[in-house]
Symmetry: C2
Subunit: 307 residues, 2 copies
Amino acid sequence: MVLNRADIEVKYQRFQREFVAALNRIDPQVEFVSDVWERPEGGGGISMVASGDGVIEKAAVNFSSVAGETPAQISERLTSESSTFAATGVSIIVHPANPHAPTFHSNIRYFETDSGRAWFGGGADLTPYYLYEVDVIEFHSALAEVCDRHELADYAAWKQECDRYFRLPHRGEARGVGGIFFDHLEGDMEQTLRFQLDFAETLTDVYPRILDRRVDHEFTESQRQWQLYRRGRYVEFNLLWDRGTKFGIETGGRAESILASLPPLVRFEYGYEPAADSPESRMLSLLRDQPRRWVPDSLLGTPATKV
Amino acid sequence: MVLNRADIEVKYQRFQREFVAALNRIDPQVEFVSDVWERPEGGGGISMVASGDGVIEKAAVNFSSVAGETPAQISERLTSESSTFAATGVSIIVHPANPHAPTFHSNIRYFETDSGRAWFGGGADLTPYYLYEVDVIEFHSALAEVCDRHELADYAAWKQECDRYFRLPHRGEARGVGGIFFDHLEGDMEQTLRFQLDFAETLTDVYPRILDRRVDHEFTESQRQWQLYRRGRYVEFNLLWDRGTKFGIETGGRAESILASLPPLVRFEYGYEPAADSPESRMLSLLRDQPRRWVPDSLLGTPATKV
């Protein structure tokens, strides 16, 4: 059955508000500014963006709902038979000031075409600058658990998908420690929506908890410089490789919202390599190695073990 | 007639050294580090990169000469019948520390395919953060003059090509105040090479002179912040739109050299607009307007007026 898009939009906006509220509990000083915008070709959005000197250096929690003719350059990518599309979603990016706290990215989205097809997509991933295994395990475990609660969800496959997607081939590096990435969920739409909202609630819970744990960690100027340097890779990924960014830019999306994901301050340095055996080089080795498994076997339910 | 590529490479490397020497005369403290690298698939290069706290915050003057099989994803773009290619060139980027001094970019290049075709390309353009018309006129006039000395060169057409190329469509902005951009020069190769070397000499003269004029200009912290913010547009252009970057990344080029063009420190801010009637907003208006003419008519020779 086809869902009511307006209903999904209401639920997506609630997720937007709740995520912002959760960040505000960790950083009460940071002020989110709401920017309501319209797209000339149809639809619009609400961008909630914060920048500050406290815990959160920059965050964007953006809702959008756009509709219109499928642009020629992406119609093939969407579906061959459709000429109009509607897409609604929430995109989140959080760049903490403290280099010990990881950057967080997430996205949930719903697509409809005029040929009657509709599907969900989404994902969440973590980009630490220093490796705290406990954070990464907690993040991946929360994702594995929410997947385990829904028959249609497949943590192991989606974790792999995420590792494949968030890579910088030109650097031979992963962007971060991954998470999950799913697309084209077309089965039972009500169950899929239920999963997506449970997923959203999980994110609202788990990332602020990890953030809260790291934000009082003392850091040195050289640790800050390493964070600014690594943020450069985030920029490279988003502008060179990210399909969402390309889709947005090519469809004449609102540049200011699409590029709100870019870090507040970034450093590019030619030929930089961290000292051997430093925490920085250990982080880099992890990103250059094969993706690791983060969740204990006991947590990895298979479809057969799900109720 | 077909030129000797090794001979061109020698001349390109001389240009590289002379441009570095010219920058060093303006900023004697800045230290260029030479990085000789090899490309596993054939060829290699010499990257000369500097970063410092003085006049030049970052500069890259890179020579490369690569050869190999034409990668599938670009063979169409190059020429339909060729299966191997050779490309040699010099790429220059200078990011001064002082926001009153413009960023400079240039490139000269020579291509050969196994089907016997060969051509030259190149260009140079200026990206100021504050508008000093005298600088822009001097830059464009020098380019118009060197074009005027060579029958095959067409300043007016190449200036337009440059304006067309260095645009950020998603922002509705020019990257800077342009310059010239030329490609696929296939006529008399000896004459073309002679033009290119004269062009290179012009650049070695004109940009350091403009730089020298601005580097002692006092600046405020907010002017510096404007520069860092506008450098973000440079990053957006290079990673989202620049064909040279795409070509390099897609052909498995050396990422560290290709991305040496990225500014040393960059700031991204959501929704920023400079105050009305400020020097910053005047600069922005210029970039959003139709490209301006910078050279007096008297300087614009037509082919008929050339000797």
